[in-house]
Symmetry: D3
Subunit: 335 residues, 6 copies
């Protein structure tokens, strides 16, 4: 196409003043695709497509030029679509005329990604470097090797996973960001709580949520997958850590205490903990996790809050609303 | 008496091999005294006396030489008693022959105090100096003055109060210790959570539990007093903070947000919060409070744990037991 | 316009047989207004407008003759609008051609008000006179003065506030009505519970919810405002009562017990009480509050119930449904 | 015996200065009796005996002159015992030398009864007369007859039953007292809540707890009996009311609504309600029940409170403590 | 019309590719009908119509040829409607041109019924025969007669009632199916739990939910009716069982224990039990009920699950999702 | 001693008519031993000793001939002690003169064991044979091998472990008994729930609690050991099952589903489940577990109930009491 359409976001497409029947192009994540059969026997797809700014559902009939590409694309794929704005029963529901899957490798620009999914505001590269420095700072060599082994096993998933499907750090790189934030907080606090073994606590912080790399499915559409539902991230993480520790020949005492941190970090049984924190390190990691999760919820709410509102809506995970105020006038530059 | 009896602790008096009928002397806190009338019309006292190692009840009849002194001493007074070991219905219940109240000012030696009540392990003088340094570190002058005003108002009670009647920091100087520990943790964490105003957060940390100075009664026998039951420490603290802020002419915005920290620091309504944390500072203070309370429970359990046990009993406030292990062999000296 | 359009209610506008494109005029409350920026850089408003019979949202672009008036009107203002019926994406969403704010003073007719917001069925003037008679009936002069002081402080807000945002007495004058109903019930019950001090109980009844005058914002659009979220009506009321009592030089015993009624009237910590009722008066007031709140929910349900239904929907605050029956045939005229 | 021993209460027998080995006589309730077999094959009884002031356990061997009388007496019988003060393993455990059952008819003096069990402070005869006046006040003749029928069916049990095993009105005549107190409160409140049918509400008040006459066993030792455990007082009361209503040929509408009051008066399913209150009368009765139960708990606590204490212990059913203060100085004589 | 329209299901009518304005005919249940008055004073009906595949609401004005038939039909009636597809504000909302009620007796074909409401997958005739065989298997003749009496009393309602409004066995014949499934499970388990009386347990199983025949209203539109709301199925069933047992002159011991099974089978007070299971039979029946209810939820989810999904949605009553997998490959044919 | 003392049970020693100062011999479990230091610097032991009929504490000083043997015996050891009956402060607290540990191998007679600890009433040998028959009945060879592998790994512990520390099957062989009872129930029920894979369900039943062999410590003194506290039996069992399945080369689908049964069998997160049951097999196993646990509580209560009582005490795990009645008269011999 000589002059391609500029890419529109879902918010653009749904805007109150957007005319119906206008041609558009968008880069979107295929969040959900269900193959159905019409009463005439023909197959059709009901797909949910979205980007960071919103989502919509539409129907793709088998005679649409977009049908085959959509059918072949798995949930979580990134697709470039073209079509015409339309609404069906009052909701935006365009007619698609073209669809092509964008292979993961071709999504190189951070801007494109940033439009597709909410992404941690801190630079992922710097977070990753920090994480590795924290690993290097573990002085016990077998423990350090155990952490390395787990990281090697889960690979890139640790960098891209969200830390949750809702609530705190529920965005691309969220797991990495939450983990590094906790590691920074732990490093700052460890000199104050000397009964906590700093090596074990730091290893526990780094690995506490590693099971989420296996719990969530899809690069762009975080939801709990089969293993997440059948095992849960706590047990998945425990299994990863056990394997990494055995391979590093970590002594049984540290192995057991590291596993215990993973099993207990959720704090309460009804929140998903498999055991109640019973070592200084486990209590410490679960408290730092709680602190950073709550503060992460606040940070995200302030970041996404509308200027027109004095308070956010009620926030899941805080039980309340948060005041959306700029820093106080006259407040000192830094602590 | 030319040669006074050495002072016995309650644990000594109750020891399995302690002979009955032996004369003893002890320095004890009068924990509870109830004046009753015998069927012959004579008054008698049922008193509970104790020190750090335990307590016992005994009856003091009106013809006992100890009766008048005991009657005059208020609950919470320190008394030097002499008597003879006896047991009544299988419980240690001595016959007291002498009692004299020790005025607060004469209890100068830290050792005597340390035997009477459990005391924070850190030196109170150093904690106090640290607290004042944290106050000095508040850069906004009115906010700093507001904190100073509150501290001047509550005076020495802040140094001696426990931070709780059970669970964490439930001992002499416990409030001071818990507050300073939180201030240290907050100082370490504030550079990491830049959306939190450090001045407000530090003022909130220092004052969050100040209502406990009015909630608890008795220097040596921490229980909730009348104001504690009718108002609760959250509202008592709010009132103190409001007064201190008005006196310091703190701007209304900071006053409201500081009050909000006090009202919300308990975290949940059912835990006694009057409001749900709705500012970054309030969420931060309530999380740091939670962290230090849990860690303080662990620290006290490790300190008081018996060498013969692998785990503590179930700890109120942790829902579980804590492993009583020494630091791991080969663990690095410091973080 | 020589011949002004008759005013239509929101229910009229949304009626199933209402034609699209028809011109209309309405008197409505501006419930919410958010200023946004379109992709072309122009500002536009998304407003929610409503009256007692319903509400709708619509968009007002910057070139609309209604834009400036809407922008200037604060949330909670009463506006007279004209426009044309339209629907956008299946919901009623008219195009407004005119808007003018009606100053509070000009809304004199009770009928106009009654159409705008749900209003207590009892005459506000009579309720107000009754309230004052109850205040006059307090025999202790300082206590009576304390109640007067608080009423003077909150002024007219006490007459117009709802008693809740949902559930019971959630309408204009609801606070006044609920308070007078409770005072009547208390007066009837006090001779039966002689351990309750009638003066303190009556003062407590009258003031128990006074903090709601500060908790809620907006005359016509009851929602919790900034002070309500950051302090809560319990603490706001406590503060008002404390001030009024100090000014009246009420003795400390009564002051403390009156404050305690305010702090404990919600009954349970998880329902927002700051203290548990611990005096006969506080238990009494919290029970009478509970009784009248539940009965008020029933009364409102019977009032608003449709004739076609045998039962109401499940009612928040009752956990259940209520039978919508007329009084039994043959039932005596009065008790 | 020429000169019988004066009767001692359990409190007297256990008093701190009571000498061991002294002969005594007491009038006591046999609260519990278990027949056991000693290792030598001989039977012996372990009995719990008590009066209003306390209780104790002791063993009665088969060669004791008290053995046969005790064996024959059922749990709940009143027995006159003689014996010698002794203690076994530190607890009061006398050797009994005589025992004789006092037939119910011979316990005519209210003083004797008052020493045996806690009794409602109001005169039972006056309460009973009031109850009958409330029944007479029901204007619908069939409804009045239905209430009468139920009262005739349960007979004297209604006058003596406690209203609970713990908490409020947990004493002889407690059910009668609680019911009359509720009827007085209902009569005072009904003119204020005109949507409540006064006849139905009053019948519901009078009968709401009638199932307790079948739930509890034993005149002097209130505990839930077999029917109480297997059916519960709500269903037992419902059954009694249904029978009484059928016999009185009460119309089906009123019968159903009266039954509904019984089934729903406990307020919440987890408190034992079989249905949620869904008529104005049912909501009203359940709220008046709640009010009088809480106030009854306060009244009993004030009555039984020790002068030496400022607050009661935590009270079951109030979740808190109650201030034990005399009426305020200068408070007016009556409402 | 010579050639009648084929009947369309609601799913057909709402299908994404269904054209607007098309004439249709459908056989539907009238789920809800509310008579309202338009602003011009004319009455109109808002009706909800549905079949197994879905439902919709539409307005029927008084000048519509369908108005009178609809007005006369009670909720729960089966109606044949004709009309034209239309949508109002984005939802399917047809204009009806004809309506006629189908008398219950004329709905003989199981297929027609199966389209109208979800129906138990097992054949009702066979289930009914099995149920009767289980009744015959009760060896105690009075107990068997008591069960028969109850069955005769409730008649056909036992065959058609659902077992719940949501969750498990919430469909036509669901009560019969759930009861027979429980009876089969009980028969299989009784030889293993010999402390359970098999006759009583089987009678309890058969009758445990019999009150639901009176709790639910409407053949096709299961919702709780007036008696269900005011009494609840537990008490309604207890009443039926009591009557049946009295008529069969069942001995009091068995009557009481049978009633207890009905009153306690819900397991917990907050789930609606009127008493806690306190006999081996009652514990057994409540556990078998729980087992079959949960398995019934799983069975229905597997039956209704879409092939395209790996997991169901979260299921009410299971707290979780269920894996929608076919049986494992290579799994043996039967147990 | 030529003529050894007959062995007395703890109940004998504590009997009301047991003389003080009598010599005795007993075979007891050392339930707890704590080494302490007297004020004179000498070590002493406080030990708790018990058998099935009860327990007592006593002090063993360092100069006692029993000191060294007691010091060497670990908690859970069986010891033969001799001593003299004495009581200290009203509790039985004998002076021990001899102690010798009985090696596990020498406790061959079932009677001796039966006196030491409560034991499953069914013969362990027969239960074990049944268990093996159920394993043999698993038709999938890899699944059968996986179950075998786990059984080989845990060895004899499976035969002796209790199934709980309190509540149901809380006695020697309790785990074996509970497992076999569940397997019998499962076998009876599987033909009725055909969507459940019988092989997987049976393997899940057999292994669901296998982690308890690692959770509990001590043959005779069941309490949660270190691994139990730090990991919990759910994760310990998961780990055992994973290892056994890997070794048997079980296909990944079955492995994952078998692991899921273990992780979810506790039913709810707050009861310790690590995942919510999401397969038909997992729902089935968790329901059968619940059924047999409740019935096991009933069975044990009936077994241990006193003849003199009509009802048991409230039973943990049932929330209520159980009627202690013999089977009904005239009840048929078997089902």
């Amino acid at each position: 196409m000589a002059d391609p359409l500029p890419l529109s976001s879902v918010r653009d497409l749904k805007a109150a003043d957007a005319p119906s029947g206008r041609a558009f192009a968008s880069l979107l994540v295929l969040r959900r695709a269900a193959l159905k059969t019409a009463s005439n026997g023909n197959p059709y797809l009901v797909v949910e497509l979205g980007d960071r700014s919103g989502s919509f559902s539409c129907t793709v009939f088998s005679d649409s030029p977009a049908f085959e590409a959509m059918r072949a694309a798995g949930e979580g794929a990134v697709v470039r679509v073209e079509g015409k704005s339309e609404s069906y029963q009052g909701r935006f529901s365009p007619k698609l005329s073209k669809a092509s899957v964008i292979p993961p490798g071709e999504l190189t620009s951070p801007e494109a990604l940033a439009n597709l999914v909410e992404t941690a505001p801190e630079d992922a590269e710097l977070l990753w470097r920090d994480l590795n420095a924290f690993i290097e700072g573990i002085s016990n060599p077998e423990l350090r090797a155990a952490v390395r082994n787990v990281m090697d096993e889960v690979g890139d998933a640790f960098r891209t996973s969200p830390a949750a499907t809702h609530v705190h750090h529920a965005y691309r790189h969220g797991l990495l960001e939450h983990t590094v934030h906790m590691a920074r907080a732990a490093k700052a606090l460890l000199p104050l709580y000397t009964e906590v073994d700093p090596d074990l606590a730091m290893a526990g912080v780094i690995l506490h949520d590693v099971g989420k790399t296996a719990e969530y499915e899809g690069t762009f559409a975080a939801k709990r997958g089969r293993r997440g539902i059948l095992h849960g991230h706590v047990v998945l993480g425990y299994q990863l850590v056990r394997k990494g520790a055995l391979k590093a020949r970590l002594d049984p005492e540290r192995t057991e205490r590291l596993e215990h941190i993973i099993l207990s970090h959720q704090g309460k049984l009804e929140w998903g903990a498999a055991a109640l924190a019973a070592t200084p390190e486990a209590v410490f990691v679960s408290m730092v996790d709680n602190l950073d999760a709550k503060m992460g919820t606040v940070q995200r709410a302030l970041r996404n809050g509308s200027e027109a509102d004095e308070f956010t809506e009620k926030l899941l995970g805080l039980d309340g609303q948060v005041l959306l105020l700029n820093p106080l006038p006259g407040r000192p530059a830094g602590p």
